[in-house]
């Protein structure tokens, strides 16, 4: 089976997607800051916010002709008012969430083209559509991912590569583990479908986008739960 690169693969939604892909028989290449040894797929250490690190981690894939997809799940957040957010945190969120997505797309795109086509799935958040207070930097970084993906989708369309974004509401992972339950529920209540999504719900959309049936869907931001 073809290879799939998954960023943020050591935990959370990235790990969930990577495990599901591995179960389906794909060669999964997971990237994370520290390559956890317990993963049931190949892990490589990579700081996605560092272009050189991404380039090194994926150098052997560059001329590959058997890559199906890139799933950019790496992400960090810092729920805080902008006026109290350290500059270093602002920079780190933009580096990982926005630049990391761009660097990984740049590194994997040649292999997808050589493979005759493929899929890129980037992750955003409901915080963009709802403009959630306390998440301005996080929302800005993910809004960047959405704008980037829409334009990049057009650049890749001639090569049979689709580029889409999934923007879920809150899903129980470490990313939101410290957010109070009532705050999570308040966001869920603002969704079109006021039910908290599960990792499986997210995987169902990823799986659809990666499938052959997803070939006509590109440049879209899919709001899981509706926003």
């Amino acid at each position: 089976m073809s290879a799939v690169v998954v960023t943020g693969a050591s935990r959370g939604l990235g790990r969930y997607c990577a495990e599901r892909l591995a179960t389906l028989g794909h060669r999964v290449i997971g990237l994370s800051r520290t390559a956890s040894a317990d993963a049931p797929f190949e892990m490589r250490a990579c700081n996605v916010g560092d272009a050189a690190s991404v380039k090194d981690a994926l150098a052997d894939l560059r001329r590959s002709t058997d890559v199906l997809a890139l799933v950019n799940a790496a992400g960090i957040a810092s729920m805080n008012l902008l006026v109290t957010t350290p500059v270093s945190t602002v920079q780190r969120i933009v580096e990982v969430n926005l630049l990391g997505t761009i660097y990984c797309c740049q590194a994997v795109a040649p292999a997808l083209i050589r493979s005759g086509g493929g899929r890129i799935v980037n992750f955003s958040t409901i915080a963009v559509a709802l403009g959630l207070a306390g998440e301005s930097v996080y929302a800005a970084s993910k809004a960047g991912v959405e704008g980037f993906s829409r334009a990049f989708a057009r650049e890749m369309a001639g090569f049979n590569v689709t580029v889409n974004v999934i923007a879920p509401g809150p899903i129980d992972t470490e990313l939101i583990a410290k957010v109070p339950r009532e705050k999570i529920q308040a966001i869920v209540d603002r969704q079109v479908v006021p039910v908290q999504a599960t990792p499986e719900d997210l995987w169902n959309v990823v799986s659809m986008l990666l499938s052959p049936e997803g070939r006509m869907i590109s440049g879209q931001v899919l709001h899981l739960g509706g926003a």
């Binding site: 560059r62 001329r63 740049q106 040649p110 083209i113 650049e155 001639g158 090569f159």
Partner: protein, 98 residues
Amino acid sequence: MSVELKEITDFLCRELASITGRPVESFGEHSALIGARTEVASRGFVELLLATEDFASERLGTAFDWASDAAMSEARSHFRTVGSLARHLLDLSNRATL
């Protein structure tokens, strides 16, 4: 490994002919690759880069980085013309064999 500028230029012209469907004789060292007078659309340009990456690795024994800082400048980019790209590749090859 001894590679001459002409071999690289000929390779690039052949690739351009294959990509565009035009005669190889219609391309030369002055054929523009970027800018208003470019000989190829963006899709064809990417195809040329892929082929050039393979050529650089297999024939020149060097890595060809599409996204270097120098590539961004239309005035001094090595993507300006077939000739400038050929000279850049030859330079990469020479450095790789030092």
